[in-house]
Point group: C2
């Protein structure tokens, strides 16, 4: 192992398996460590803590505790919503020099990869020897150049399970219109994943609306009516980031204070908005659910495949960095085989930074209100073992003598 210390941080929103990647980094570093080599340093609160030099010695964490940390909700090191300024990067490099940090592992989404890339470039510019390796994570599955992202599979499992369970409830006591809002600002991957809940024609979800297509209220209402006419109910899944024909978030919180670190308005509220429209215009009783953060916190719905891959990318990042690779993010590459096989690859950080992977056209149906079989084939292996299936009563018609 080369000289120098290693730093790891977690950026952006947590996922149900983000701590698996962290633990994999720590374990792999320890496995390869020989006496006299550097420390594995954790930056608390991501870049905020890095700049405050708020560091912990991860080499001293107990292995048995690390195992449990793997399935704790939230980012174990803490995260932040810092809007990076130009001078922050120089500051980071100063601190890296001060602590002799020679390896920087950043577990995050496209915003974090942008930061990692800027640090990587500045290190080259000033001639500081540093290996920067990005480790992907996001429930939104919107990172480019990777088949999918760790965190998505578990969130998809949560959304599919929740949709199936709510669908059965609504079937037994129709509301009759129920709208479920999922995370997903610009990319509808999680809303799309609700399709894995459906076993039979008529099952929830009846329609899925994704931000990749604008929502026309007329079309939406006529979809609701058609499902109601056919089944007496409709369970509809919508991404929080659905936009109208003029490109505005439907039902978004408009207040200034609720804009995010990048000044973007905070979506959310579309399900409430649409439920009110159904109620007002179609005169049908409508309710909505917004399980929200559950998609990234519900440890009961962790996908085993997702967990393994989150460990895999963490471990791989360490081995690539120790081989001298830098300025890259670890990716997941699916093999073109019948059985699901996924290996790791790499991509330059600058290709992932900021870029956003939307659902490709072949995964959305022509009407823009459901997914295609191609999407289902793509998504099924990611959620792990099939979600729980529930029986019905056989329902033998009563035959009874009566006068």
């Amino acid at each position: 192992m080369s000289a120098g210390n290693m730093l790891v941080a977690q950026g952006g929103g947590p996922t149900a398996v983000i701590n698996c990647s962290l633990v994999a980094v720590i374990e792999e570093v320890k496995r390869r460590q020989v006496k006299g080599t550097g420390k594995i340093v954790g930056a608390l609160r991501s870049i905020d803590g890095l700049i405050d030099e708020d560091f912990i010695d991860l080499g001293k964490e107990r292995p048995s505790n690390l195992k449990k940390i793997c399935e704790a909700p939230g980012a174990a090191l803490g995260s932040c919503r810092r809007k990076m300024k130009e001078e922050d990067y120089a500051l980071i490099l100063e601190i890296f020099k001060k602590y002799d940090i020679r390896y920087f592992f950043y577990i995050g989404g496209n915003g974090s990869m942008h930061t990692a890339n800027a640090v990587y470039k500045l290190a080259i510019e000033i001639g500081y020897d540093l290996n920067v390796v990005g480790i992907p994570k996001t429930i939104d599955n919107d990172l480019a150049h990777t088949d999918h992202t760790p965190g998505f599979g578990s969130a998809a499992r949560f959304i599919a399970s929740t949709t199936r369970e709510i669908g059965l409830d609504i079937k037994s006591l129709p509301t009759p219109i129920s709208i479920i809002e999922t995370p997903g600002r610009n990319a509808g991957w999680l809303a799309a994943a609700s399709s894995l809940a459906k076993e039979e024609e008529g099952d929830a979800p009846n329609f899925i609306y994704m931000p990749e297509r604008e929502l026309k209220l007329d079309g939406f209402l006529s979809d609701v009516e058609s499902s109601y006419a056919k089944y007496g109910r409709a369970v509809i899944v919508v991404s929080e980031g659905i936009k109208d024909e003029s490109g505005h978030y439907l039902g978004a919180v408009k207040s200034e204070a609720s804009r995010d670190g990048f000044g973007r308005g905070l979506p959310g509220g579309v399900a409430a908005y649409l439920a009110e429209k159904v109620s007002d215009i179609l005169k049908l009783r409508a309710r909505y659910e917004k399980p929200g953060l559950g998609a990234r916190t519900s440890v009961k719905y962790i996908s085993e495949v997702d967990r393994k891959e989150a460990l895999l990318v963490g471990k791989k990042a360490v081995s690539l960095a120790l081989k001298g690779m830098s300025g890259i993010m670890v990716t997941l590459e699916r093999e073109k085989s019948k059985k699901y096989i996924c290996k790791t690859g790499t991509v330059p950080l600058e290709h992932v930074a900021i870029a956003e992977k939307l659902i490709p056209p072949e995964f959305i149906n022509a009407n823009g209100n459901y997914v295609t079989d191609a999407f289902i084939n793509y998504c099924v292996p990611l959620i792990g073992k099939p979600i729980q299936s529930f029986p019905s009563l056989i329902g033998h018609k009563l035959r009874i003598y009566h006068s």
Copy 2:
């Protein structure tokens, strides 16, 4: 076993264990059945199906399938939102005569007990020999004369677990204000149950607002500010049925079509409403979650205690009816002992019908923004084994040589 057939139906909204009570009725009837005695009949879609004579022969259900039905979301027989008319009761008695139904088991909440009571009284009036026994269920825990209701423990477990998981997420990446909306129109039992998520000072939930106390916006905002000043965040749990000082639901869907079968406006939307107020007035980023139906559908959070008690009340109903008892609902009675011990009792249906059990004053703190220890002692045994606890990193401060 006396002559005549037995009918069972499920009324109102489902719970995670409502099917346990149904299965217990079926199994207990079969266990006691001898050749030549009556059938156990299921009315599909509750009173709607009863009046349509939409009956199935539950005696023919496979035992192995019934076991699985126990943990299926939704009401296995189906339910309805029928607004009962006077003539409906006479119709029910006509149908009971036609099918020689001599036992009527109704699994439901206070609305269903009102129906069961009316059927019971009419049978006496017309001299028809009928045993009516109510079986309690509701996630809302608002039935009178029972220590608690089957369905509540599992919903409470779901709310407490979800609050803890969301709390850990918010702690690692503060939003900083997060508002979670729980079911509960007039009774705040489920919001109160979120208190079981808290392990340490500062943990979620920081405040709980229940419909038993009116919400004053000023007080709410100053609570939010105080938590933010102290911890940099606030996770707040609110019942959907929170009312303002003039008794109106906050953020309720006002539309006519979304009124319930009893003409009551549909609450829900209070978390969105309060998040917007926090954002507008306090200029703090705020988000909200509305896991909604999850509280009654999430089979992963079933409380073992709740499941056992749901089976117990179903079984007990059959044995009481066969002893000739009628016009009663089975209750749960907690013994005054250190260890949690709960037995069954009975109460006349007319004492439960329509009555609503709100949280008693000794369970709510003086400020009306949290529960008391007495509530926690009451609630803890009902959710089964303790909810999952998650470790943190030990966080050994880094000691490193640097120039």
